[in-house]
Structures are given as C-alpha cells and as structure tokens.
Symmetry: C2
Subunit: 437 residues, 2 copies
C-alpha cells in the first residue's frame, strides 16, 4: 500500500519559503538568562549587533541570494513565543531550579518580537546590522547566525542528486557516530551541544543532539538550544556571553573613565550573582584578556562555581585558572571549567585526560558537532566547510564596544578603542591564532 | 504543520507481518529465462531444491524464529503475477529483443504460484526442501534465499535503538558510495547488480541499486532483480544457472550412462541456443569443472558470445578461457566474460585492469554490493556478516543431482555420485577455496 498524503502534498506545492527558524525558542539558553537581567537592569540601553564573517575568503553575498536572506529574516520577525513555550519556560526547572524566569518576564516575552534589521551588500559580504534596544537586538544573535549558515548550506547543496545528498548525510552520520564511540571511552565526560549558531541546518542539529542523547546517555548533560531541550526533555545549558562585559565597559567608559572600564568585568559578575546562583555562576574570563581578569579579580570571584575559557588553548587556560584558584586557597576539585572554544573529539579527549581528577569539567561542543562535513561531500570542494561567523555587539548608547579576548584574531572594536582597552588591560597572554570555528 | 496520516497509522497497527517478498518479480531474471525453457522442454521433470547453509558456524535455526520463517514462506505462496507485471514482461524488451517471452508462457505465468515446502530444524539449521515439478520448484530459489537472509538481518537488529540503526545504514551507505567513487575511475566498466539472493534486505538492495544508477550512470548495465529493473527502468540481466546442467546430467545418467552425463553440459547449450541468442549466449563452464568443459567442448561452443566463470579466481579463469578461444581461432576482443563469483571493489578493479582491451567484460556484483556491512554495526559482532547460503537442486526424477565446480568447497551431491562425476570429468584445475559469499 503506497500512501501519499494528498493534503500534505498540496500544502507543500504552495510553499513560498522553507523557514529556517520556526520558533523563538530556537536560540541559545544563555540569551534568555541574559535577557532577563538586561531587561531588569539595562532596559534603556540601545545596543547595535552586527554580523561579522571572519572568514573573508568566503564571499557570502556571492553564495547566498539577498532576497532569500531577507525572506528568512522577515519570517523570523513574524515569530512570537507560543503559549506552550511560555508555559514550559515558566514551569520547567533549569539548572535544578524552579521558576528561573520571573512571571513578569514571562509576561513581557509574550509580546516579544525580533526588531528590524539593516541589510546591504559590501564587497561580497553582507553588512547585516541590528540597531535598537538591547532587550531586543540581543535576541537576533543566534537566529541571524543560524539563518546565514543554513542558507549557505542550502545554496551549496542546491541541485544535487538524491543519492549524492543521501550519501553526504550518511557520511556525516557515520563521522559523528565515530566520535560518539570515542567519547564513550571517557566515563566521567559531561558534554553539551553548543552548536546552534554554526549549525549546518536545524534538522541536522536535531539529528546530532538526538544521536548524542541515545549514544552518550547521561554524559550528554544538555543542549544550549532551548527548543531542542524542550522537545527532547534535555537540560537547557549555558550561562552568559561577552556582550555583558562589552556593553557594560562601553557604557562605563563614557567621558574617558578608564577606571570604570577596568571595573566593568566585575560589575557584570555582581549583577549576575544578584540574579543567578549555583552552576550558573560561571564566568567568562577572556573578554579583555584572561591574565588581566584574574590579576585584578576581587577574592569573591574565586567563590564562583567556575569559568568558561573561550579563546585560549584549553589546557593552557585551565592550568592558568587552576593556579589562580590555588593561589586564592580554593580547591580546584570543587570547581568547574567549561571548555567551549572550537572543541572537537581530539581536544575533548586531550583536555579530559589532562585535567581528569583535578577539576570538574564540561565541554560545550559547537561547530564540530553540528557542522562537521569534512570529507563527506561526494562532490568535494570546501562549500560546506564551516566559517567563522559571529554576531557581536558593536556599540552601546553610541559608545563603541570592544572585545580583546586572548586571541587578537577574535578581537572586535574600533582601532582607537581597542588601543585604549589594551592600555587599560595590557596584552599579557594574548597570542594570535586562527579563530576556531 | 505536523501531518500524521491517520489511515496509514491505523493500517500499520494491524500488521500481522511485514512481508519480505511482495512480488513474484522480486527474483532473478535468469529464473524466468530458464523457466520458459524448462516449461517448453522439461515440463514433466520433478526436481527437488534444498536450502544449504555452507556457513555451518552460523546456526540459523537458533537465530531465526521458525514460525516467522513459515509466515514469510506462506506469504510468498499467496503471491501471483499481477496484470501490470505480466503486461510489462510481455511488452518490455530484454537484451535488445522484443517479445522475449512467448504469449503462451505469459498466459501460463498468470496462474503460477510457488509450490509447497517442507521445513524442519536439524541440529541448529533449517532443513528447507522444495519437492515438486521443476517448473515450480525452480522459482523458490531466490525468494527462499532472500527471505532467510532478511529474517536473519531482522533478528540481529531487533530491539536496536533508532540512532544505532540510523548510523548502521549511514555507515553502509558511506561504504557503498566509497566503492562507487572508485568504480567511476574505470571508464569502460559494465557492472550489474546480482545481489538479490544474499541481500541484507529488500529496501537495502533497492537503495544500493538506485544509488548505483545515480552514481555510475551507463556503467550500471542493469540488475538481475526483475522487480527493481521494472521499477527503475533498468535492464534485467542474467542468463542461466547450474541447475540446467545438473538436472540434465542427473536425468542423462540414469541406468549407468556415463557418456550421457559427459554430454549433458553441451546438450544444455544446444537447448539454450534454440531459445535465446546474442548476449544471452553466455555459458557457465564450471558445473563439472572448467578444464574438462573446455577440453571436451565442440567447436561451436566457441561461437557463443561468452562465458560466466563462477568458481575460479577471475584472472585465472579469464586467462584459461581466452587461451581456449585463441586455440579455437576466435578473437577474444569480440568475446564477453561475465565475472560473478564473490566480486568486490578490489577484485573488480584488479580484473578490469588485467583484461582491459583484451576481452569484453562485465561484472555481476552480488553479496558485496547488497550485503556489505563490515565495520558498520555500532554494536559490533558478526551477526550481519553475510553467510554462504544457497538453494540447489538435489535430485531430478529421483536421481541425485551433482555439482563439482572448480572449487570443491562449492560441490554438492551424494558422496557416491560426486565420486562418479569426478571419474567422468576428472579433477583438473580444481582447488579448494573458502566459498566466496
């Protein structure tokens, strides 16, 4: 009995668009945690986010049709949180805690919509900017990245044969499962999907996360993707991002106040711990350089649960932080390191074995989980190689925002302002490396 | 929009059986060619076929549930050729020839049904016998093999997780496509699917054949599976099998007539060329040993289009046959060799390069096309390793049937009768090798 669902086929015939982002929960969990705090403390801040393609050799505007990009962005702007989603956000426990999101925040989300965008082509790249209230522009980061990345995949795969595509995904599945089998050899592993922003596509990310759930069991501690967490009864994971110290430093630096810039990273932590606790007290140390951050940190920072080093090789970063904890009389075995910068099977294994027994660890596995098609494309070529695409805050209330990071290749900001921040924080420990994708 | 086809789900709930063989065309093309001739010339012969598992270490009756096997065999007995199938057999061209099947044969097929079977368990194996008229028992060979092989796959995979299964097939797809990419490097390749009998499962064979069609284009010259040929607009390929000389020799040997046994292989060819011509004039030389066959062959055998060596290493067999053609003053470049014994990517490549330019070649690719899951099973183990399962004619009109082959491990027949055939044909060139699966 061959069954064709006539209604579905008829519906499909009329498709104008195959939407990439279909829910406002299809974003990273940390965006919601940050948003609640931003709305509470910085409701009045205007912040502009901008798409930056660090992989300049890939001329995105030559690959992706501008109208298709507009259609997808426009479609994302039509989305609202559904009742089911809001009920789940209100009723679910996150990080072991009920009522993570306050009722008034949930009520505010009910009216949320993504704000307008500005798009033009410049020299083969898209200049895609999101100006507006920080409470709204911050929410563009993940859907904008997911849309551009998936449009690129779709463009590269357009017109391919049915079996060629089948083999492409077969190889990618086999490739991921080989990694799963290696990860099974690490008994105390804790890994989380951090791959939403750089994913090959939504359906592929879903496959990857569900495969990890079956293949790793408890060792998959969650996914940063809120929609996938909800749909698969997984923990939603993530804490906070560079945009917090970047915006707070930009605001603090108005009128030449360098001391306030130097204090901003710790102000972020004070604001954060007024909202969250436990395993959410994980600090990003590298916004303006890890060495400076640790050197100037008040002692209470060592009471936080852990750190998420994000721009230094993981073993180097971990050793530096462990030494700092020990100098401050804390036992690293009670502390947590979250590794999330360009991790893949080899770096996870190496880092795991290096620190096993000395510190608690978890791995945020991103691009190399949800967008690793190396050697998988029957047609060859580099069209499916992931690119280093980010959406960063560029200014706050008219002040340029800066990120230095431990890797100057990941720095953002105007030249003058970057120089100013380098004077304030120093350059200790900064080494240029090709940004991990 | 999530669409569940309620009617289909309801229908599925009531499944008693997921049938393995769903059409009488799900068989090898040579069975139909032979059947037309058997019905014409040997309508009155009783022939018993029997399942033989040469891989004794796999205790099939411990793996496969007897009742499930009965259910599948019983379901196959309910099948009839559909009108569409008969119209296609009558109207399609085979090997470039219209009306390959005579109207009276087509009319006879309309009433065809698979005859009864005898099944019991003996020492961990199934004793599965098909006694009855040759015109009917011959048609059990392929469905019986396909059913037992697929039931084994299903038993091994029962209870596996959804992603484990997905990865299994992903790896197998990647594995096959790697072979496809290597085969693309052979510009004059002609390959045909011969994998029905040993397939992992019907749906997997269909994937393999459709993948070859997309991946190899014209270099896929067809499939032996008639149903897949019809559904995919491919050529149906195949000529004849050992059962013809085996039955004719058994009948000829009644009353101690050894000379008639010696003549039987050539009688088969005379009968065949009275029915078919062109590229269907391909002889199996090895039923009672290739050396003896060639030594005693009348000169007109060298006028045939080619040979299908089936139990000797391909290069050795090809060289022997080419030398024989040359001795008989024929140009091998006008002749065809069909290699079909345990071929895989390495042997295809090696044989192709060895003979390229010296003789026309095609490859019948069987088990290693449709049942190669080596290294693919996430659970490990040998449960999906193909086994050397055959269905052979055991007696004809009460006389034991014998096959010697160039590989004594592939010999069948009673000890006494095998000894008799060895006296008649000699043992030249026979070397025991593990039977290729």
């Amino acid at each position: 009995m061959n069954v064709t669902d006539i209604a579905k086929r008829t519906y499909d015939h009329g498709w104008r668009l195959d939407p990439i982002v279909r829910s406002l929960l299809d974003t990273d969990f940390y965006k919601l945690l940050m948003l609640q705090m931003i709305r509470h403390l910085h409701d009045d801040v205007q912040a502009t986010f901008s798409l930056v393609n660090r992989t300049r050799t890939v001329r995105l505007a030559d690959v992706i049709d501008e109208q298709e990009l507009r259609d997808q962005l426009d479609h994302a702007r039509t989305l609202r949180f559904s009742k089911k989603e809001l009920i789940w956000l209100a009723g679910n426990s996150f990080y072991g805690k009920a009522r993570m999101f306050a009722p008034d925040f949930i009520a505010w989300l009910a009216d949320f919509q993504l704000p307008e965008y500005e798009l033009r082509k410049v020299d083969g790249q898209f200049e895609l900017r999101f100006p507006g209230p920080w409470t709204h522009t911050t929410m563009w980061e993940i859907p904008a990245l997911a849309i551009v990345n998936e449009l690129r995949s779709r463009a590269v795969l357009k017109g391919r044969g049915r079996f060629e595509l089948d083999v492409l995904y077969a190889r990618a599945k086999a490739r991921l499962w080989d990694k799963v089998e290696r990860l099974r050899a690490l008994p105390d592993l804790a890994v989380s999907d951090f791959g939403t922003r750089r994913r090959h596509g939504f359906l592929w990310q879903r496959w990857c996360v569900e495969a990890l759930k079956e293949g790793l069991g408890d060792r998959l501690i969650g996914t940063s993707n809120v929609l996938l967490a909800m749909d698969n009864d997984l923990e939603a994971t993530g804490t906070n991002a560079h945009e917090l110290p970047m915006v707070l430093a930009a605001l603090a630096g108005r009128g030449g106040n360098d001391a306030a810039i130097a204090a901003a990273p710790y102000q972020v932590l004070e604001e954060w711990r007024a909202h969250y606790d436990g395993n959410l007290l994980v600090a990003l140390p590298d916004a303006f350089g890890t060495a400076a951050f640790l050197r100037n940190a008040p002692d209470w920072v060592a009471d936080w649960t852990g750190f998420r080093p994000d721009s230094m090789p993981p073993i180097e970063a971990g050793e530096q932080i462990i030494a700092w904890w020990q100098e401050h009389g804390r036992d690293p075995r009670e502390k947590l390191l979250v590794f999330s910068d360009g991790m893949d099977i080899e770096t996870i294994e190496r880092t795991y074995h290096h620190f096993h027994g000395r510190v608690r660890m978890s791995f945020g596995w991103g691009t190399n989980l949800t967008n690793d098609f190396r050697g998988c494309d029957p047609a060859g070529g580099a069209g499916l190689e992931p690119i280093s695409l980010v959406a960063k805050v560029m200014q706050a209330d008219g002040q340029p925002a800066v990120k230095l990071s431990d890797n100057p290749a990941k720095a953002t900001g105007t030249t003058a302002e970057v120089a100013r921040y380098l004077r304030i924080f120093g350059q200790e420990g900064m080494n240029a490396r090709t940004p991990e994708v």
